[in-house]
Symmetry: C2
Subunit: 437 residues, 2 copies
């Protein structure tokens, strides 16, 4: 008799492998941190300590949030429906200038709770005090790629910019053998970082073989600004600095043209699409259909809670699919399976984690969620992809396993004390109100 | 000591009255079917049979789904991401030609379960076999405005079109004194109904003082078709037939221009906006910001489950707000409070029910929901409107009261047997698969 630690059975498995293989009445076995076996049928000669009955639900890879600022969970709803500069200058920047390590730790814990409870198992973070963000993710037992935001002006965390590169390097070293936490180099944007900083950041990323992550072409103002200062639009400017490459993850890419897309495709640069944030801030609609047609890897992200205002990849999938249809006036683009790939295996590719996560295949790490479909809004079920993208919501996720460890069971979080985290979040909010109002 | 049947306390009341009054630490008393008192504070000298503690959550009017085809819940996910005509001709029309009374009854029960569980207390329906839709709503104890869809070709329900008007008239008479069910006259569209049918339908609506409901300017094809056949675009054509008026509810209005909007404003015609369906079918973006600026009453609808694919007004609010921001490239349009008004009091106005429902005010019928905010994704709370529109999801609704009756308590439906309904829905789905695949 074979042994496993966990068996999930009695569900439809959406593997999200290369062929989008679907296994009806499927099962997934987990041994240690790894998917040890997959198959179908009821009578499987395997013993396991823990058997999880999916009750006819959907078993799929954990979702990947490719771009967020997790601790901004504590700013959710602080200010909305405002012109960008008013929102930033009167609310977000004043609040961010006052935050500290404990604020980021608490906010990231809260974000991890929300993410696990809505099916995300891996997230990519860019914020301040990322040492604490990493610790919070580690406590939640979430997989993550984190990086300290770098820019020309002094940071409330590390001080002058030179220290930012040192801080990043120490983070990389600290976490380099961790099973869950990875670190990236993350200059904020082309309009907040000097060419010198961008080049140094790229060198640091290349020397440690970690991703370089930056906001690119998010707004028309940014494009105009970069053109004015550097004589070329964002992607060309990135190219001229030698930053384009397969290690580069470009967040947003709302305002990129055909030439830009060709360049990104040629250099293997990855894109993270954040439709809800781009809509809410009225930034524009990224040309996702064209990016995919040209072979660019595109993952999905929520961006931070201040501009979304949630970390739910389910609503992000729904929005992404519908937004491209309306942009192209073609209902066939970004079909449900394609969108779910963006939220799973394509997101993993974007973060350089495709050998670890993003699909359910024997030998990969066990990052698995179960979606409970025994509910009126998910009954009957004709097409599981359509259900996931257009009908399910984050809180339809019943179970989550990350790196082989059960972190949520029947919607109960096993790694975090939600009540305590929410209490701490409310205390932080009292301070935020004092800072801003 | 005053008496009440139900008291809801310990929550923030979003009244959605004319001033958007918010009552902190508020309470709402219900006596019979009516809101008997509202106020704030802990020590209220009122006795009640049932006291519902909102636990610091949000107490607001039940949401209004201004346009749906409820029984299409049984077609959710049957076919997606297809060109409109392929979707209609190969899937929806063949399936609809086979449905019967029991199909509509079951599908509407399923839809009512989903709607109540996502905060909707009133819906406006257009479909076949509406006698059964009304009965299902009555069983669910939901408020509704229903109407049999009328068109030039024979109906699987009533047969030839003349019988459709008779059927509608008998429905109006049957339900005219009902506390929950109202009936409208509902010709399908300008391209499926002859001028004679449209005029007869309007006469019937006017003679019984009930709303006239029709799809208008949903797609560019429709606009071209109406122009070609009748020499004028949809709203002008409606005007020429004498159909514009305060009793007319025009669903969609995606492709209307300034002149159309002026005419609709002048005649007091109401609009129901269905952003998710319009996006998913790639129909276009309705000019909601302009409609509101010109004083047109605009409610929100989900449309049917085959083109959405859910009946959740929370995601519809989120989508509506973000879609207008991206269309106008202005983040200030359709702010959260405005969108929540569209889903409550403006929706009530659109359906002619503003004296009954859509806001929490003493003397109005008690249609009330509670949103549980004691969750990571709703903690902390700076702004309740922002929370409702941008962060909450349908399944954050914990309680629902319709016409003074508690229909959901701590997410348990009290008027419907969900397990039984889901079983029946699955049986219907087996038939649908036989019809279509």
């Amino acid at each position: 008799m074979q042994q496993a630690d966990i068996i999930i059975n009695n569900g439809t498995v959406l593997t999200m492998d290369k062929k989008n293989t679907v296994i009806k009445n499927g099962l997934v076995c987990v041994k240690g941190d790894t998917i040890s076996r997959m198959g179908s049928g009821d009578n499987v000669p395997i013993e396991a300590e823990k058997i999880i009955d999916a009750h006819g639900g959907l078993i799929l890879p954990g979702l990947i949030n490719g771009h967020t600022h997790a601790a901004m969970s504590l700013f959710r709803g602080l200010a909305d429906d405002l012109p960008l500069m008013e929102w930033l200058n009167n609310y977000i920047f004043p609040a961010e200038s006052r935050i500290d390590a404990d604020f980021v730790f608490t906010g990231t814990l809260l974000a991890c709770a929300e993410m696990i409870m809505s099916g995300t198992t891996t997230f990519c973070d860019m914020y301040l005090f990322e040492k604490e963000a990493a610790s919070a993710a580690r406590q939640a037992k979430m997989r993550c790629l984190v990086g300290e935001v770098l820019y020309d002006f002094p940071s409330p965390n590390y001080g002058p910019v030179e220290k930012g590169l040192e801080y990043t390097e120490s983070l990389i070293k600290k976490w380099q053998d961790d099973p869950l936490v990875s670190v990236a180099v993350e200059p904020h944007s082309l309009f907040t970082c000097s060419p010198d900083l961008l080049i140094s950041a790229n060198e640091l990323a290349l020397s440690y073989k970690v991703p370089l992550i930056i906001h690119v072409a998010e707004t028309l103002n940014e494009v105009a600004d970069v053109k004015e200062k550097h004589g070329k639009p964002p992607v060309e400017y990135l190219h001229s600095l030698g930053l384009l490459g397969p290690h580069l993850i470009a967040d947003h890419c709302v305002h990129v043209n055909e030439q830009d897309i060709s360049k990104m495709a040629k250099y293997g640069t990855k894109v993270i699409h954040n439709p809800e944030s781009n809509m809410k801030l009225a930034s524009g609609i990224a040309p996702v259909t064209e990016l995919l047609a040209r072979g660019v890897t595109v993952g999905l992200g929520t961006d931070g809670c201040a501009s979304n205002n949630n970390l739910d990849i389910f609503t992000e999938m729904d929005m992404a699919a519908k937004l491209q249809k309306i942009q192209t006036m073609d209902p066939t683009v970004l079909d449900a399976a394609t969108v779910l790939r963006m939220a799973t295996i394509e997101g993993a590719k974007a973060l350089g984690m495709e050998d670890i996560t993003g699909s359910l295949e024997t030998g990969k790490k066990a990052d698995i969620i179960i979606v409970d479909v025994d509910k009126p809004h998910l009954t009957p079920m004709y097409n599981p992809y359509s259900h996931i993208v257009y009908a399910a919501r984050g809180n339809d996720v019943s179970h989550s396993i990350i790196n082989g460890q059960l972190v949520m069971e029947d919607r109960k979080l096993l790694t975090l004390d939600i009540e305590e985290i929410m209490e701490r979040a409310k205390e932080k909010a009292i301070k935020v109100r004092e800072w801003v109002f």
